[in-house]
Subunit: 299 residues, 2 copies
């Protein structure tokens, strides 16, 4: 299945207890696409400024990512600056420069209009709606969002949730959106709004899958080398959606194995800054850790 992601392409400056980097490749669409492309070809839609190094796009293309949907606009690339402390469960945003991302409208190139699987990374719901408008025949539509949109554009978001099959959101977002603290109950509330599945990302605590009839919980892989959690959630979603696109279906067993794929890719991603660790591995490394994790979980 063809897999399309719409999201941000960024230059990130990040400080963690394990080190510091400046203006490295980042953004939700980048982490998602790189992670997903271990499993299936990926089409990426986003915007960069005229300052964005072309070699970053070359690198994505070499990894099986079609960048025909990346528009280069006059101006500067989106920049994010953040830091993590302690258990690194939460990013502290120090600075955001939207730059060209502020004018991003989610327009797709003609060659992307037949995409089967679609992931709408965090972004303005109005833009996410416009992407779906262009993809009436997509078979699987999944969205992420963040507190900002839940607070300011809740109606647009509720309408979006009625148009997609699933969401991948973090625990705090699910709690804020539903007003329900118990995560399984919160997930069920979202299902009642018409979603087929809800994936709750809990950072170092793993993830929870909720469908109409089932719950599935998966801990995070217990890595001892957390260097930088930036992109953990997006690489998790990329592993999940990449696996589903590869499997060509999204029944419960597919979703479970997709969660495993996402969990493993994210656990490798956080072992370095930017895409450093993902750049250094192959699909075999992912499979090896997946096997070790499955064995670890067996009784």
């Amino acid at each position: 299945m063809s897999l399309l992601v719409v999201g941000s392409i960024a230059l990130d400056s990040v400080k963690t207890p394990r080190g510091e980097v400046t203006e490295v490749l980042g953004g939700s669409a980048v982490y998602f696409a790189y992670a997903a492309s271990f499993f299936a070809p990926v089409r990426v839609v986003g915007v960069v400024g005229d300052d964005f190094p072309e070699h970053h796009l070359d690198e994505l293309r070499r990894h099986g990512v079609d960048t025909a949907g990346v528009r280069r606009s006059p101006g500067k690339t989106f920049r994010w600056k953040g830091s993590y402390e302690g258990s690194m469960n939460e990013a502290r945003t120090l600075a955001v420069e939207l730059n060209v991302l502020g004018g991003f409208d989610g327009g797709l190139p003609p060659s992307f209009l037949d995409s089967d699987y679609v992931f709408l990374a965090n972004g303005p719901p109005a833009m996410q709606h416009r992407v779906l408008d262009q993809l009436p025949a997509a078979r699987l539509k999944v969205a992420d969002t963040m507190n900002h949109w839940i607070r300011d554009t809740r109606d647009d978001l509720a309408r979006l949730f009625r148009r997609v099959d699933g969401v991948v959101m973090n625990d705090q977002e699910v709690r804020v959106y539903t007003g329900e603290e118990n995560l399984p109950r919160a997930g069920r509330k979202l299902i009642e709004e018409g979603l087929r599945f809800v994936v709750v990302k809990k950072g170092e605590h793993g993830s929870l899958l909720v469908t109409k009839d089932e719950f599935f919980v998966l801990p995070a892989y217990p890595t001892t080398e957390v260097i930088d959690p930036t992109g953990a959630g997006d690489s998790f979603a990329g592993g999940l959606m990449g696996y589903l696109a590869h499997a060509g279906d999204f029944r419960l067993p597919d979703l479970k194995r997709g969660l495993l794929a996402g969990t493993v890719v994210a656990s490798i991603n956080v072992e370095g800054f930017s895409l450093d660790r993902l750049r250094a591995i192959t699909r075999d490394d992912i499979d090896a850790r997946s096997d070790a994790f499955r064995k670890m979980l067996r009784f």
Copy 2:
């Protein structure tokens, strides 16, 4: 194997978003013993005041708990008053009355001196040491503790950890004791101090087992009915140790299945105040939820 627990016996007053109770049966030794006695006979050591209702002890005895180690001292029973808010992950202690627990010395009756498996619930390390002094032939010794003792009696605690086989501690305690935020690394640090295994309780996020060579992670059972988390950690430890006492061994496969037993009993316990839910179930109910959980975790 005979299983002994030393800990508190309390009258708890608890308020949660789901309700409120006053002076109900509680305490670490009580939750542990009731949970463990679904799997194996349990010996309980603790102290109550002359105000403690005898029917509480009758109830424990009817559930396979030997109360020969419960001393009745002149004075009032230990009381704890606390509340939970939001996701109920952390108790807010509103009042503690040590009462007779302040004079508790951990003395064992002669009939308990041949105990094989021992669990030292949270308490002063000096008292925990005294219990071990009386049990030179115990085959498996496991301890819990809390931040208070880590801060004030660290040397006693470090010495205790060199005398026991394993610890069952919550995530924050493990982080504070080791000074390490990453839980798998923190667990390894404890192993390097000579422990055979470390179980980290993460509340609604499940648990982590660390041994010299292995990690094992288990999410919490995704119950939608969290009424009162009081006793979750102690009933988890009770299920774990009860399972091990029943199995008669504590190799990695036993520990994994023990974690499952603890997880399931704790998930039932939090569905009511005090022991309300555990009182209403049988071993069959635990096995049914264990089977459902194993199935949920299967790919």
